[in-house]
């Protein structure tokens, strides 16, 4: 079930005016920042469906920018996020797209700096809830409502077992897990949502494993 907590329904506490186009949009931006692991230097944001039609009125652009700045949904600086981003020298561009998407409130975000960039697709599903459905070409489902790690790995036997063994050692319980790959034997991605927060020490240890390329932590 998509909505598990009563606070998905009675909540979030947020700056208006729209839970899907403001709060949910902010959460997509914030997850993008978390997945990059730091503040981006630039962002290209492509809006689809109802996002593209009405973003100006709902402040969707302002909200996604607020998310990239790591604001919370109730942060009253949100109204000034564009100004704050520009003062920090972050270059942000918005594009209205006309392509049809599965979900009416969809945004594709490319963010990065001199070292790295990522591309993801996020959807705002209502009531302020958002999910990431695609990351760097991999299909996934990430709600941002649980602590999670994303593990880039080589598509080899034993890679998944090595990760789950380490999590078991630290008594981390997995609530949801999925694996996707673009081609057999190439790069693959594990998405693991957990009940407990994951210490940086565990991330370091995971990255030492054979076949593991990169581990990104997303906090609750």
């Amino acid at each position: 079930m998509k909505y598990r907590s009563v606070f998905d329904i009675i909540g979030p506490v947020m700056v208006g005016p729209s839970s899907s186009h403001t709060a949910g949009a902010l959460r997509i931006g914030r997850m993008a920042r978390q997945l990059l692991g730091r503040e981006p230097k630039w962002a290209k944001i492509y809006l689809y469906g109802s996002f593209a039609d009405t973003y100006k009125g709902h402040g969707t652009d302002v909200a996604i920018t607020g998310g990239l700045l790591d604001f919370d949904t109730f942060d009253t600086r949100m109204g000034d996020s564009m100004k704050i981003a520009s003062e920090k020298g972050i270059d942000i561009e918005f594009f209205e797209e006309s392509a049809k998407t599965d979900h009416p409130n969809t945004a594709k975000i490319r963010i990065g700096d001199d070292e790295e960039d990522i591309e993801l697709v996020g959807i705002s599903i209502g009531g302020g809830k958002a999910e990431i459905t695609e990351l760097n070409g991999f299909d996934l489902r990430l709600s941002g409502h649980h602590p999670a790690i994303l593990v880039m790995h080589n598509d080899r036997f034993g890679a998944i077992a090595s990760v789950t063994q380490i999590l078991a050692k630290y008594e981390i319980n997995i609530g949801h897990m999925e694996v996707s790959r673009r081609e057999q034997g190439q790069d693959a991605l594990m998405v693991i949502e957990t009940d407990q927060n994951i210490d940086p020490e565990i991330v370091t240890q995971l990255e030492k494993e054979e076949h593991i390329m990169q581990v990104v932590k997303v906090s609750d």
Partner: protein, 294 residues
């Protein structure tokens, strides 16, 4: 977890507990948090709602200038005249409007279940409060009962205007509120379900057609109507009136209507009030261009 309203009501009846208690216990189980923590978090949301209503009753104005000040007008009218629809009903209306005026002005609100429909639950709560004198805990429970019904709708249909039209937002919010009013007034879990069914039936088909794409016109006044609908339906259920179509089937009908609703009526500013001559003129004023696509 309860999957539908029938299971929710059965859980309450079998354990002889109110709907709010079913929701509290489930929340503790799902999130592994203590009762104090769960109740405390909901009290924080209650406090946010109180503040939104207070702010709105002092008078606010949105950036576009389209909304703000109506909550004050209604309260002043109530002081100087005997409202035809009754004091409690109009009090709920003014408080629902107050919340959504604050939302439109980019103030802080608690989404219930969404921001655009945030007025119905607190509007009715703070009006019914004047009559029933609930404890603080009763008020917190009101929100859990609302949340329980909202969760069923969210998981079986939709609470998003872009996905299901306004029936999914204000319709859901009003239904949630009516179920909670029944519990606060001492009705049974089944009566809560009847109230929700009656409310939602009267919201079916409602389109999401915000002028200039802003959560202002008609959203603020739709919350006023949602709040009044909730109170009237709650009274009907408390009187013993039942819905011929069971609550879960009404929710299913709402979902199907939403799926077949043209996208022009799902938060795209392409149809309904948004596409009226005045709606288009307002867009021109705000953006200097029209949002019209065809």
């Amino acid at each position: 977890m309860f999957k539908n309203v029938r299971e929710l009501v059965e859980l309450a009846e079998n354990e002889n507990i109110p709907i709010s208690e079913v929701m509290i216990r489930q929340e503790m189980e799902v999130t592994e948090k203590s009762r104090d923590k769960v109740m405390g978090q909901m009290e924080e949301n209650l406090s946010v709602m109180e503040k939104s209503v207070d702010d709105g009753l002092k008078g606010v104005e949105s950036r576009s200038g389209l909304t703000g000040g109506d909550a004050v007008l209604i309260q002043d009218y109530m002081k100087n005249a005997e409202p035809l629809s009754g004091h409690l009903l109009l009090d709920a209306v003014s408080k629902a409007v107050a919340t959504n005026e604050v939302n439109a002005a980019m103030g802080i609100i608690c989404a219930t279940p969404t921001a655009g429909s945030a007025g119905c639950v607190p509007g009715t709560l703070f009006a019914v409060k004047e009559k029933l004198n609930p404890t603080r805990e009763d008020m917190i429970r009101y929100l859990f009962t609302s949340g329980a019904f909202g969760q069923v709708i969210a998981n079986n249909a939709s609470i998003s205007g872009a996905a299901g039209g306004c029936q999914a937002e204000v319709g859901s919010a009003a239904g949630m509120a009516s179920a909670a009013i029944v519990e606060m007034a001492g009705g049974t879990p089944q009566q809560s379900a009847e109230a929700m069914a009656i409310t939602l039936k009267n919201m079916l088909g409602l389109v999401c057609d915000p002028v200039a794409g802003l959560v202002e016109v008609p959203c603020v006044k739709r919350n006023a109507m949602g709040a009044s609908n909730a109170i009237v339906s709650a009274d009907m259920a408390l009187a013993g009136v039942t819905s011929r179509i069971p609550c879960d089937e009404v929710i299913e009908a709402m979902f199907r209507i939403g799926q077949r609703m043209p996208s022009a009526y799902k938060e795209t500013a392409q149809g309904g009030l948004a596409a009226t001559p005045t709606g288009r003129a307002i867009e021109q004023q705000i953006y200097g261009t029209s949002l019209q696509k065809e």
